[in-house]
Symmetry: C2
Subunit: 159 residues, 2 copies
Amino acid sequence: MVATHSTSTSALAAQLSTAESLCAQRGKRLTPIRRKVLEILLTEHRSVKAYELLDLIRDVQPGAAPPTVYRALDFLVEEGLVHRLDAINAWAACMDAAGEPHDLLVVCTQCGAVAELSDPALTRILEERVAEAGFSLSEHETELRALCGKCRKRETHAH
Amino acid sequence: MVATHSTSTSALAAQLSTAESLCAQRGKRLTPIRRKVLEILLTEHRSVKAYELLDLIRDVQPGAAPPTVYRALDFLVEEGLVHRLDAINAWAACMDAAGEPHDLLVVCTQCGAVAELSDPALTRILEERVAEAGFSLSEHETELRALCGKCRKRETHAH
DNA sequence: CGTAAACGTGTTATGTTATAACATGATAAT
DNA sequence: ATTATCATGTTATAACATAACACGTTTACG
């Protein structure tokens, strides 16, 4: 069987169950709202804007307001289940929350596609550079602004 | 003589004159508004929010509105004279516009201090990683979220 | 159990950041 | 001189995010 665009249903179940476990281990609660936000992001498998999430949430939670979504997102980011993408003001699920923490996020500034990478050695080098400048790296998640394959072609076509 | 906090007056003049030259070479115009925005950022020598800039601009240009500032900032970023800092929604002058292009910006997420670094070899490595993920780096300016020395201490104190 | 503390959510309002759209004025190219 | 291009003025609104306080639910612990 060929993988579908948004991965199979059981992958989603596994990801949600991983999220549950991680929260439980830490004494945190993956409440229905938080779970739903995470589920949307996992299913879409792309970055989504906060107000777009709000619209989607309202399908199941008609009373939802901006804080509903932002609180859930803040929690999920805190727990490493979601990435916040500053370059495009959007949010994307971590597709592999049980694995190595991601230290590089490649973000297509055109369409919001995201690649999650791990490269501790590279991060160590970045840390050194930062330290030489008298700073200390505060988040081990560095955003790289890029174009995905599709968007690059589109750019090229548009001369 | 010891350097003052915001560098000497003549350094400012030199920076502005560099900016003029670069624009002239490219057939672009460093208009009074653009020049003023750049001057504020060079003088402050720190990152500044757009609406803070707007207030400062209004001292000399009482009719200024948000587009006044955003247009100037967009121009200055385009010309490499100003950096846009996604992590804190702020803007900082490039203190060395005539030199090597900066490929790493270290940003204190607490106070907005910025260090501008150049490390083409490191950037080449980042480019490779990005290419492996099927993307291509679209801006050769990567933001690293960090804490400056002062803010780190402050964090430590506040245990 | 009971009850207090901590946590999560609802709700309203507002703060902050940024752009659209169209009019007007300045500059440059020929 | 005239037209095209660029820059700015002006008004309105879009997009993103948080403050503040009320209320309900869960947890800790006597």
